[in-house]
């Protein structure tokens, strides 16, 4: 039972399958990430009590909100949750001020308006109190929704893709505001998002979901660079997933050596894998360094690999490269380089390039999984 913060275990076979377990401490932001239909919003709704799952338990600060075995069920209105809906779900006929005041009915009437104004000022909406939602911009509506959720002094703050309905510039500003606001808040906060960058920026821990199952929970950067399974690797957008054999562990140098397509690659020491074992390995694109033609650097000695550019795809300020290593019929290496770097190095389709696979970024995973890497190749 969670004495502090929230702790949920949710299981059901249908209509939306769930097998999830998560916890979130006071002041912590937990991001639930996963593709559409992975059960993120369902989990949030279950925590709020808007949906009753078949099995499991939800505890908040020591109180039981739901336990199917003990037949405990606390209604939404008694759970004291702050919920920011994807489309904000503001009361369209009430002004911003009255939207916020509706969440404070347990306070004396005289105090409500003063406090609602305080909360609106806190989210930088003073002066707009009397506007109805339709007369506010998307970003302002989102702030009213946050203000209304906070006005209740919730025991948990639930944010369901709160940035998806605003334009990019507003989103950047709102990220900043939420990051500032969260420092002042002492309740657990659960953020649903399908945007990994959002999770990386705003959360302390990240929970990867797929088809209602929690696959991995951890510090966002760690999950995104060191996934536990191929499934997680694919869900966090790691495209460089390959197979290799473990050659040796050099504890003195802190490296594990693997053989991949006749290359000896040095990886960060990962002694859990036995010598001779087949493993799956991944490397985030940020750990692949392009060799410069004009000025070779020291880094080139680290796991150098060469290949031919199969695809050259300009994406704004960057260029996405697909590189064939040891032949075009094997799964290629994907990397992104700044456009000016690509130009300076005369990179084009068909060009031969050299890259270094940084040892720190090479992460090994067990190969005997149900989900195998593409084309099942070494």
């Amino acid at each position: 039972m969670a004495e502090h913060g929230i702790c949920a275990r949710l299981q059901q076979d249908g209509p939306i399958p769930l097998d999830a377990e998560l916890d979130c401490a006071p002041g912590e932001v937990l991001a639930l990430v996963g593709p559409s239909g992975s059960g993120k919003t369902t989990i949030l709704r279950a925590i709020a009590g808007l949906l009753r799952v078949r099995h499991g338990a939800i505890h908040c600060n020591g109180d039981c909100w739901f336990d199917d075995e003990r037949q405990v069920w606390v209604e939404t209105r008694r759970r004291r949750v702050g919920y920011v809906f994807q489309n904000y779900a503001l009361f369209p006929h009430l002004s911003a001020l009255h939207n916020v005041m509706e969440a404070m009915l347990d306070r004396p009437a005289a105090e409500r308006e003063r406090r609602a104004r305080d909360v609106l000022t806190r989210v930088r909406l003073s002066g707009l109190e009397n506007r109805v939602p339709a007369a506010l911009s998307g970003g302002q509506q989102q702030r009213v929704a946050v203000a209304r959720a906070l006005a209740r002094e919730p025991r948990v703050l639930l944010l369901d893709e709160p940035f998806s309905a605003v334009d990019r510039a507003t989103r950047q500003r709102l990220y900043h505001e939420l990051a500032e606001l969260r420092r002042e808040l002492a309740m657990p906060m659960i953020l649903v998002t399908h945007d990994l960058d959002e999770a990386l920026m705003l959360s302390d821990r990240m929970c990867v979901l797929h088809q209602g199952r929690t696959l991995q929970v951890g510090e966002p950067y760690a999950v995104m660079t060191r996934p536990q399974t191929v499934e997680v690797a694919q869900l966090v957008g790691l495209r460089n997933v390959f197979r290799a054999g473990v050659i040796e562990h050099d504890t003195a140098r802190g490296v594990t050596v693997i053989e991949w397509r006749k290359h000896r690659l040095e990886a960060r020491l990962q002694p859990d894998f036995a010598v001779g074992q087949q493993v799956t390995w991944v490397i985030p694109q940020g750990h692949i360094v392009l060799h410069r033609r004009d000025r070779p650097s020291r880094g080139e000695r680290e796991n150098p690999v060469s290949g031919v550019v199969l695809e050259y795809l300009p994406l704004g300020e960057n260029v996405a490269l697909t590189v064939a290593v040891n032949g075009p019929d094997r799964p290629p290496l994907f990397l992104t380089v700044p456009a000016h770097t690509a130009r300076r190095n005369n990179i084009a389709q068909g060009a031969e390039i050299g890259v270094s696979l940084l040892a720190e970024g090479i992460h090994l995973m067990s190969a005997d999984e149900s989900r195998t890497p593409r084309r099942n190749e070494p």
Binding site: L50, F85, N87, A89, L90, H93, E102, L105, R148, R152
Partner: protein, 223 residues
Amino acid sequence: MDWTALSLSLKLSGWTVLILLPLGIWAGRALAVNHFRGKAWVEALLALPLVLPPTVLGYYLLVAMGGASPVGQFYESWIGRPLVFNFEGLLIASVIFNIPFAIQPLQRGFEAIAPEVRDAAACCGLSRWRTLWRIELPLAWQGVLSATVLTFAHTLGEFGVVLMVGGNITGETKTIAIAIYDRVQAFDTAGAGIMSAVLLLISLVAIGAAYLTTSRSRSRHHG
């Protein structure tokens, strides 16, 4: 001009609205929010008065409330007079044949409210009563207005069911629609004409005012 018949019609319409509106709000909301097996059949049953000939509905009500029926017998032993051919019986019949005119606009009104708005109200800690009063009814007000006007105007003009269940008793069951028929039967076309014009005017004003209010509100929101 039969003022007694007109005032009886207005009284019947007023009471029908008063009784049916709360029931319609409850049923319309329940049908809008809940999904259950057999819902289509419940909706079909409630819409039946729209398609059933008034005389058929009137016949069944007459049988169901008449002196030979358990309902009729119970009422007579309790109150001391029969349920049919008096105002109370007419009111019950009026409530039943107006069910679709009240429930359908209300159901559409409640269906138009985004489900998340109700969820948000629950997350704000609002009680069910407060959610209905403060959030849902103000958002479904067009449905409430339509239900009121349609029920009122439809009761005012109903003929077949009234004749079957109420008969033609002055001051008790003789509504303006029956009085018009009476006048025509007595070859008093001038009297029938005046009453028809009054009925037409009242119905037009009621429905016109409702349409006007709704369209003004729409243009305010979209303008």
